[in-house]
């Protein structure tokens, strides 16, 4: 900006008599003009930030006014399973306004609900903008939409789920609270995401029954049916966490498959003393006083070997390797997830452990360790997919007026070399099928399918049955499905979780072999 100033600079004299040049008003006005131009440039940048850079994120958020408004009047897109079976569709009430209907209660923990009065949850919430047609999954379509007469374009969502397996999973959990995750380790596609107790999502969505249904669910603070346990339940893992310790210990080179610990055999009878705390074990009757190596320690779920391996690895490396697997922050998933943790993280020892006792306990899944079922499925998937974790996802494709957008599989993390994954696979095969392993993991075998796995019995302290865990995959030589099962207060891993996994893997085999 040039300002032709008629007011020149003023030459003044300072105390010493030397002339001091000050810019005239014309010059200072020019600088002020420049400053204002810069300030308005910043405003333009700010507007660009919100209207371009953050635009699609904000305008498709479930809290956005347009998304909420659309959800009230628009006929939402249908949700189907991967084979096209309808999971959610819309009906009309007596005023001609649409409301949602769901295939079955078994889907409540993953599909969620969309209700005029109570908002959205689950997939209905995560993909609210696409389902109600406020935004297209494709940015170019989004821009072109402005030129159409009817800008709303509800998309149909095809999920990765298998409705029959989902129902089988809910049926297997029966009256127990718990969660089951099944996914394809090669693609990250989630086949089953089950959480019990289930609830009646159709009841929440139907305007005639929504208030009564929802308030009854909120009031149930014992069963807590609205908590999606597969993604947001945090459980003590028990021995299934040994797979994380194995990945850290073998991956970091702290131990190898032939490592034995000379303290272990002697301590089998009375327990291993770590800093004054006695780590105990339960397989003495089967193995006697011989030193076990990695495979055998995994097969009999030897707490002493894993405690020593954990101490050998060190707190730092255990926490770092777990972080590679996804611990410590929410997982990159279509639904919100809780973060899993190895330790509370505020202790003075390396990695944030309080001391060696906590580290040794964490190494076999007790201590301050908490995990989500989805997190354990991802750990298993790293072993099953030669060390590579694919980003887990539930959306397979979106179909609107303009066509179909497909979500492609995406690699998330390369955690360990295939060699290590193979070593752990071998141990997990023994844990399910070995002479000794069978005793600990009864019921996970499926005829005609080699299952690799690990059971867990998570002691909760105090009274009450422990949580029953199983993680595994099949077929062991060409893994195509990963499973993680947790049954709250289900007893030993072998008692509840392992047989459920066997049942579901058999059901998967039947589905996959169609």
């Amino acid at each position: 900006m040039t300002l032709g100033g008629s007011l020149g600079g003023t030459a003044q004299r300072n105390a010493a008599g030397a002339p001091v040049r000050r810019p005239g008003i014309g010059a200072t006005l020019g600088r002020i003009g420049l400053a204002m131009a810069v300030a308005f440039g910043a405003l333009a940048a700010g507007a660009g930030y919100w209207q371009v850079w953050r635009a699609s994120e904000l305008s498709s958020a479930p809290d956005d006014a347009a998304v909420i408004a659309a959800s009230r009047r628009v006929v939402r897109g249908e949700i189907t399973d991967r084979d096209g079976e309808r999971l959610a569709w819309s009906a009309e009430d007596e005023n001609g306004e649409p409301y949602r209907v769901y295939l079955s209660r078994s889907l409540s923990g993953v599909v969620g609900y969309a209700s005029r009065a109570y908002g959205t949850a689950g997939l209905e919430r995560a993909f609210d903008a696409e389902l109600s047609g406020v935004t297209a999954a494709d940015p170019v379509q989004d821009l072109l939409k402005k030129f159409r007469t009817d800008p709303s374009d509800p998309q149909a969502l095809r999920t990765t789920l298998v409705a029959s397996l989902q129902q089988a999973a809910i049926g297997a959990l029966d009256d127990d609270s718990g969660a089951i995750v099944m996914l394809d380790p090669r693609t990250g596609e989630v086949l089953v995401l089950a959480s019990t107790p289930v609830y009646d999502a159709s009841g929440i969505a139907n305007p005639a029954t929504s208030t009564a249904t929802f308030q009854a669910l909120v009031a149930d603070d014992v069963g807590r049916p609205l908590l999606p346990r597969a993604t947001q339940g945090r459980y003590v893992p028990g021995s299934v966490f040994k797979i994380v310790t194995a990945i850290a210990a073998l991956g970091s080179g702290a131990v190898d498959v032939s490592t034995t610990f000379e303290e272990q055999p002697a301590a089998e009878a009375d327990g291993l003393l770590v800093s004054g705390f006695r780590v105990r074990d339960g397989h003495h009757s089967k193995t006697g006083s011989r030193a076990v190596d990695f495979i055998e320690a995994t097969e009999v779920s030897c707490n002493l070997w894993y405690a020593l391996a954990g101490l050998e690895t060190g707190g730092d490396r255990l926490v770092d390797w777990a972080a590679q697997l996804g611990f410590g922050e929410p997982l990159p998933f279509d639904l919100p997830t809780a973060a899993s943790q190895v330790t509370g993280g505020d202790g003075p020892a390396p990695g944030g452990f309080l001391d060696d006792v906590e580290l040794a306990s964490a190494a076999f899944g007790q201590g301050e360790t908490f995990v989500t079922p989805l997190q354990m499925a991802l750990v298993t998937s790293a072993v099953a997919n030669a060390g590579v974790i694919m980003r887990p996802h539930l959306a397979l494709s979106f179909t609107g007026k303009a066509g179909t957008t497909t979500i492609s599989p995406e690699e998330w993390r390369r955690v360990m070399p295939a060699r290590i994954a193979d070593q752990i696979t071998a141990a997990m095969v023994e844990a399910v099928n070995g002479d000794l392993g069978v005793a600990y993991t009864t019921g996970a075998q499926v005829s005609g399918l080699t299952v690799a796995g690990k059971s867990g019995t998570a002691e909760l302290g105090g009274e009450g049955e422990p949580n029953s865990w199983f993680i595994g995959f099949a077929p062991a030589d060409d893994p195509q499905v990963v499973i993680a099962v947790v049954v709250e207060h289900g007893g030993r891993g072998a008692a509840r979780a392992a047989p459920i996994a066997g049942t579901l893997l058999a059901a998967w085999k039947a589905w996959a072999g169609r």
Binding site: M1, R22, L29, G33, L43, W50, A65, A69
Partner: protein, 471 residues
């Protein structure tokens, strides 16, 4: 006040103004058609035919556009050689305002309804611009009585402190009989007039002398007093009125004019240090200030509580995207809270509504219009005949520019949000009339045939007192 209407009148055509006005009228008319079409579509009516041409509230539009051309005609008839860009620029901003107010729920204002009330104020504002631009030929009434103006301003401020009506926790409104208004709008004009008088008279001294404190070169001590007074007034406005916007506006305009006058960055730096220090204390002491700053730092943390207004505004910008949803097709339904309704949309957040409906290109255009106002004002200042007129013109244009910046930056989350109007677009009579006054004065000051300023009166005021003290 010297008002001269008489034989000297000689009509003079204003081609540039006319051309720009035609462009502005074209843009406003297109906006009206666009608004009418989206309203008809929403109502399920046929887009063309059936109920006349597709124009939203055609009568209001005709009245407003007519007022613009009458203003132009009056300026032509009085024949002064004044600025020809400001009227069309401000006219376009006002037209955008009219379209927006016609489009929002009408029950936001009682009586005539939002759109019609705004039309009345806009027309009066154009009238104020015209009267001042056409007939004010002398600035002596501003120049000579600066302390009177200052006293009037302080009196007005104190009156508001004592007798102001509290609305939404802010004591901004003063009601005298049937008249009510926001004195801070008028105060900003008085402030600029006073500063122009004070700074131009003492410019030589401010430039020449300084007090050294360590590495800092401070203004001569006696002249520090008004600076401290300004700072105190701004703080008291915050504390008593809880009007952060006006306080920020006054202080920034003061600092900018101080720089215009002296060319000294150190004064501005000193002022900024005082501002930051004062702000830090206020953050600790005044809960209202702390709330605003906390909302600014993370509005999404309280998206359904304290941060609701800001978050909804950001969502509105995001929904608009680059091209906007089109006039009338956005979601700022204030009457039906929630969802999406933004409280105080028509006064504090019109830019968010326009950002949604006109998109980024609309926002950039509006920002550009304010830059034009600033640039024209500074140009008028640069070619003014003396310091008083230069500082006055600069101050008047900066008052509009800085005010637009403060509210736009607040709405866009660049700075904490302070409730202040967007000049010529926000709803409200006080704001429109005083901004009309500002633009009218700017146009009058740009007169290249104006009478010369009075000869400088040497050594007055403080200077004389100082000289008397010298041996």
């Amino acid at each position: 006040m010297t008002v001269t209407v008489g034989p000297r009148l000689q009509p003079r055509l204003r081609h540039r103004e006319l051309g720009l006005l035609v462009i502005a009228v074209f843009a406003i008319t297109i906006g009206s058609v666009s608004l009418a079409l989206s309203q008809r579509q929403a109502a399920g009516e046929p887009l063309l035919g059936n109920g006349g041409p597709p124009l939203a509230s055609g009568v209001a539009l005709a009245v407003y556009l007519g007022a613009l051309f009458v203003a132009h005609a009056v300026l032509v008839l009085t024949g002064r050689r004044t600025d020809e860009v400001l009227l069309p620029t401000v006219g376009l901003l006002g037209g955008i305002s009219l379209l927006l107010m016609e489009r929002l729920p009408q029950d936001l204002a009682g009586g005539l309804g939002l759109g019609t009330t705004q039309l009345v104020w806009l027309t009066l504002s154009i009238a104020v611009i015209t009267m001042i631009a056409a007939f004010i030929r002398s600035d002596a009434w501003l120049r000579l009585y600066k302390y009177t103006w200052a006293a009037f301003g302080v009196g007005l401020l104190l009156l508001t402190f004592v007798a102001g009506r509290e609305v939404n926790g802010q004591r901004l409104t003063l009601a005298i009989g049937p008249l009510s208004g926001q004195p801070s709008e008028l105060l900003k004009v008085i402030l600029v007039i006073f500063l122009a008088g004070y700074l131009s008279e003492n410019r030589a001294l401010l430039v020449e002398q300084s007090t050294r404190v360590g590495p800092l070169r401070l203004p001569p001590l006696p002249y520090l007093a008004p600076m401290v007074a300004m700072w105190a007034i701004a703080l008291s406005i915050v504390v008593v009125q809880r009007d952060l916007g006006a306080a920020l506006l006054f202080f920034v305009v003061f600092l900018l004019l101080l720089y215009v006058t002296t060319g000294r960055g150190s004064f501005v730096a000193l002022g900024l240090v005082a501002f930051v220090a004062g702000g830090a204390v206020l953050y600790e002491v005044v809960p209202h200030v702390r709330t605003r700053v906390d909302i600014w730092l993370d509005p999404f943390a309280t998206a359904s509580g304290a941060g609701y207004q800001v978050v909804q505004a950001l969502h509105a910008f995001a929904r608009g995207g680059i091209l906007g949803t089109g006039l009338g097709a956005g979601l700022p339904e204030v009457g039906n809270l929630p969802p999406g309704g933004i409280p105080a949309l028509h006064t504090d957040f019109p830019l968010a509504a326009l950002g949604e409906e006109l998109g980024l290109i609309g926002v950039l255009a509006i920002l550009g219009l304010y830059l034009v106002v600033i640039e024209r004002g500074l140009r008028i200042a640069a070619s003014a005949a003396d310091d008083f007129r230069a500082i006055l013109a600069a101050g008047l244009s900066l008052v509009i520019g800085v005010q637009a910046f403060i509210i736009a930056a607040g709405v866009l989350k660049l700075i904490p949000l302070t409730g202040i109007t967007l000049p010529f677009i926000s709803y409200g009579g006080s704001s429109l009339l005083t901004n009309g006054l500002v633009v009218g004065l700017l146009i009058a000051l740009s007169d290249r045939g104006a009478e010369p300023p009075p000869p400088p009166t040497a050594a007055r005021g403080l200077r004389r007192i100082l000289d008397r003290g010298a041996p």
